[in-house]
C-alpha cells in the first residue's frame, strides 16, 4: 500500500473509533476541517509510526506543522526517504 493510502486507511479507522465523520480527503483539505481533533491526530501519528515505522514530526530537526492533508502526506513521504 502506498504511504498515502495507508494514511487514508488509518484516518478512517481513527475517525470510526472516535465517532467522528471524516471529510473527503482531498490534498487541499485543511487538516483541522478533516473531522479529527487534536487527540485524533495524536492517535493517528502513533498508529502511523507503528505501520510505517516513522514519526517524521518527532525525528525532524525543524518543527513541522502541516496545514493541509497534502502537506501531511508529504511529511511522511519525505520522512520515508
Amino acid at each position: 500500500m502506498t504511504i498515502k493510502l495507508t494514511i487514508m486507511d488509518q484516518m478512517a479507522q481513527v475517525a470510526r473509533e472516535h465517532g467522528k465523520t471524516l471529510a473527503p480527503l482531498r490534498d487541499d483539505l485543511v487538516l483541522l476541517d478533516s473531522g479529527l481533533d487534536s487527540l485524533g491526530f495524536a492517535v493517528l501519528v502513533a498508529r502511523l509510526e507503528d505501520t510505517l515505522g516513522i514519526d517524521p514530526f518527532t525525528s525532524a530537526d525543524d518543527a513541522i506543522f502541516p496545514i493541509t492533508f497534502g502537506d501531511f502526506v508529504k511529511v511522511y513521504e519525505n520522512g520515508a526517504r
Binding site: E17, H18, V30, L31, L32, D33, S38, L39, F41, A42, V43, V45, A46, R47, D50, D55, F57, T58, D62, A63, F65, P66, I67
Partner: protein
C-alpha cells in the same frame, strides 16, 4: 488600611475603563459597567456568606459571577465544563455547597437541589446591591485525582493574584485558548482584568479557525494556551489572522519544537513559557525561547518564591500556592515546611533543567492529567486480562498519549482471538472512559515488572 491584595476583586477593578471588555462569541460586556450593576439580578445578597457553586455553561457568565461574588460569598467552587455528573454529589458535600449560580443553558439545571439558586446573565442591570465584603472568599478549583474523582484545591484571590504584577498594560487585549474555569485560564482572566486589559474568551463549540479569526478581528495582543493548544492553532491557516506581541505557554511541557514553531510564525513576538500547576500556582516564567529552565532559576526565583529539587521532583514554597484540599480525609497539599511537591520530575542537562514527566506515572495528554491506575482498573475488568500497565507515549500533537501493555490469563498466540480481545478491551475502555484516557494502542506482553514495593514498576518520562 487593608493591603490591596486582600481587597475584593470588585474593589481592585475600580479603575476599569468602559473600553475594557470581556467577550465571547456572542456577547461583549464592559467590566466598568459590572462595577455599578449586577449580572445576578440583584441576588448577590442572597449568596452572601454561602458556599456557592459556579455551574455556568459559559465562561463569560462564570467570570461575571466571580467578579460579583468575591468578598461576598464565603466560598466559590468553579465547576469546569467537563465535570462528570458522577462526581457532583461529592463536590457538593466536600465544599459544603449550599447555593448555585447557573446561566441559561447550564447542563446542571436539573441535577442540583440546593437552598439558593441564582441565574447569571451577561445582561447587566444597573444598581449596586452586593452585600458588604465579608472575610476573604475561598476560591475552589478542581483538579483530577487518582481514581477519577476531582480534588478540590483551596485558593484565595490573594494567592491567585500573587504572581501578577501591579503594572497596567497599555491597550492590551488578552486572548486565551484555555477555559478560565481551570487554573491556567483563571490566571489569564485575572491578569487581564487587573491589568486593565480586555479579554477574549473561547467558546466550547467554536471551531479553531473561527476562534482565531475572532481573536484577530478583536485585535488580540497577548495570547495564551498550552503547547497542545498552540500546536493545533499552528495547523490552522487562520493562524495568519493573529499577530500577538506576547505569546504564552503553560500547563504542559513546552518542547523545543513548539517554541521554534511559534518563533517562526511570530518572529517579532515575546514568547514565554510559564511553569504553573493548580496546587503550586505560577512558579516561574522562561523567556529565552529554550525548553526547560536555567539552573540559575532555582536561586533567582521571583520575590517570595522558593524552589528546590528533592528526589528529582520540583518543590515550591510561595504565597502563590494553594493552602489545602477540601474533603473528608484530604491528603496534605504542602509538607511541614510549606513546600508543595509538584510531582514534576526534572533532570539536569548542561546548564538547564529539563522536565522528564511526572512521578507516579501521571500522564499529561494535551493538558489533561491522566492517572494510569484508573485506566488499568478498567482494562483489568476484562475476563481474559491478568494485569496491565498503562504508560505514556510521546506525541508531537498532544505531548503524550496513553498506551497499554497487557498480560493475558492465557498465553497469547492465536492471532485471530488476540485481535478480538484487543477490540473488546478497547470497546470496554471507550464505553467507560473519556476519549483521552482510551489507549491508542494495546500490546500483549508475557509479563510486567513488579517493584520491591509490590507495585507495578513505573518509570517516569
Amino acid at each position: 488600611m487593608a493591603r490591596a491584595e486582600t481587597l475584593p476583586l470588585r474593589q481592585r477593578l475600580a479603575g476599569a475603563l468602559p473600553e475594557h471588555v470581556l467577550s465571547d462569541d456572542e456577547t461583549r460586556v464592559s467590566v466598568a459597567q459590572l462595577l455599578h450593576g449586577t449580572s445576578l439580578d440583584g441576588r448577590a445578597a442572597d449568596l452572601a456568606g454561602r458556599s456557592v457553586l459556579i455551574a455556568a455553561s459559559r465562561q463569560l457568565t462564570a467570570a461575571l459571577a466571580l467578579i460579583e461574588l468575591d468578598g461576598v460569598a464565603r466560598r466559590v467552587t468553579i465547576l469546569p465544563p467537563d465535570t462528570s455528573r458522577d462526581h457532583l454529589a461529592s463536590i457538593v458535600a466536600d465544599a459544603e455547597i449550599d447555593a448555585v449560580v447557573i446561566d441559561n443553558g447550564s447542563r446542571w439545571d436539573s441535577a442540583l437541589d440546593l437552598p439558593v439558586r441564582a441565574l447569571c446573565t451577561p445582561g447587566i442591570r444597573a444598581g449596586r446591591n452586593a452585600a458588604a465584603a465579608a472575610a476573604q472568599t475561598e476560591w475552589i478549583l478542581l483538579t483530577s485525582g487518582t481514581v477519577g474523582a476531582p480534588k478540590l484545591v483551596v485558593h484565595t484571590l490573594a494567592s491567585l493574584t500573587a504572581p501578577i504584577g501591579g503594572g497596567k498594560l497599555n491597550h492590551a487585549v488578552w486572548g486565551t485558548f484555555y477555559d478560565i474555569r481551570r487554573y491556567g485560564g483563571l490566571q489569564i482572566f485575572l491578569r487581564a482584568v487587573l491589568g486593565g486589559a480586555s479579554l477574549i474568551l473561547s467558546s466550547g463549540a467554536e471551531p479553531v479557525a473561527a476562534h482565531l479569526q475572532r481573536l484577530g478581528r478583536d485585535g488580540v495582543t497577548h495570547l495564551s494556551g498550552t503547547p497542545s493548544h498552540w500546536r493545533r492553532a499552528l495547523m490552522s491557516p487562520a493562524i495568519a489572522a493573529v499577530s500577538p506581541r506576547y505569546v504564552r505557554l503553560s500547563g504542559e511541557i513546552a518542547d523545543q519544537a513548539i517554541l521554534d514553531g511559534l518563533r517562526a510564525t511570530f518572529p517579532d513576538a515575546a514568547i514565554g513559557h510559564a511553569y504553573a500547576s493548580t496546587e503550586a500556582g505560577v512558579a516561574f516564567e522562561v523567556n529565552d525561547g529554550r525548553a526547560g529552565f536555567p539552573l540559575t532559576t532555582l536561586d533567582h526565583a521571583a520575590a517570595g518564591v522558593e524552589m528546590k529539587i528533592v528526589d528529582g521532583s520540583l518543590r515550591i514554597r510561595s504565597p502563590r500556592t494553594a493552602s489545602h484540599y477540601l474533603g473528608a480525609a484530604p491528603a496534605p497539599l504542602r509538607d511541614g515546611a510549606g513546600f508543595v511537591d509538584t510531582g514534576d520530575m526534572v533532570e539536569q542537562r548542561g546548564d538547564r533543567y529539563i522536565f522528564a514527566g511526572r512521578r507516579g506515572g501521571i500522564i499529561n495528554v494535551g493538558g489533561q492529567k491522566v492517572h494510569p491506575e484508573e485506566i488499568e482498573a478498567v482494562i483489568n475488568r476484562h475476563p481474559q486480562v491478568r494485569m496491565s500497565l498503562v504508560r505514556p507515549r510521546p506525541s508531537p500533537v498532544t505531548g503524550a498519549i496513553v498506551i497499554a501493555d497487557v498480560v493475558l490469563r492465557t498465553a497469547p498466540g492465536h492471532t485471530v482471538a488476540d485481535s478480538k480481545i484487543k477490540d473488546d478491551i478497547l470497546e470496554l475502555c471507550r464505553r467507560t472512559l473519556p476519549r483521552h484516557k482510551v489507549p491508542a494502542a494495546i500490546s500483549f506482553v508475557p509479563t510486567l515488572d513488579v517493584a520491591s514495593t509490590g507495585k507495578l514498576a513505573r518509570r517516569h518520562g
